[in-house]
Amino acid sequence: MTRYELLGLVIGWLLTIIIALLAAKIVIKVWRDEIDLEFLISDDNGDASLSRFQFLVFTFVVAMSLFYLIVIKTPPDYPAIPNQILALLGISGGSYVLAKGITGGGAADTSTEVTEKKTGDAAEVKTDTKT
């Protein structure tokens, strides 16, 4: 084994151990509820969001497929990713952003109403104080 191969091996082990420790810490924190997943697929109002759910499903499906395809080869090899897969994730992500934009417009309208209501209340209080 040359010096460079040894260096590569040491760096590989170091990175693997660091990632293993991080992964273990994340899983333990999630398991103990220190990382709260209750609103993982919920939007700002607390309702479950279908676009977030879809994003979650596709993320797991693509990640697990990638993992499977990498480990079945010896030596492990990263597979080519067809454009359709990118389109699939793009549609899902784009829909999530658009849905958020549409709902955000509605939320902005509601917040304007709340502000108007608050301003109205304040004006009423001022009038009462004067009288």
Partner: protein, 114 residues
């Protein structure tokens, strides 16, 4: 080097499998909030558009997994699948836009004729 590869495989498997198991278990037991997943956010009624998108998502995910296991490479999804999924999303977003617009118009009408 082989030991490193084996260790990496187990490490990634442990991370993915445990995260998927935790998320799946919590989704099924209701510890991850799924309230309102199939209801319209504005009208608060059952939304067929959401149901069809949920079904389309499940079908694409199952097709994807089956193709990966059969061909042992990243699947070439048929163009029709992408179009169907895009159409499904358009339908969902159209329904969402419609309900938000209707709600806004109703509020404006309420302001004009209180």
């Amino acid at each position: 080097m082989n030991t490193l590869f084996t260790f990496m495989r187990y490490e990634m498997f442990f991370l993915l499998a445990s995260l998927a198991a935790i998320v799946g278990y919590r989704l099924l037991t209701g510890r991850i909030n799924t309230k309102g997943l199939l209801t319209d956010k504005v009208t608060h009624e059952f939304s067929p558009g959401r149901l069809q998108m949920l079904i389309a998502t499940a079908l694409v995910a199952i097709y994807f997994i089956v193709q990966v296991l059969e061909t042992e490479k990243m699947p070439q999804l048929p163009q029709e699948f992408i179009l169907a999924l895009g159409g499904s999303h358009l339908l969902y977003l159209g329904g969402k836009t419609y309900s938000v617009l209707v709600d806004k118009l109703a509020k404006i009408a309420g302001r004009i004729n209180p």
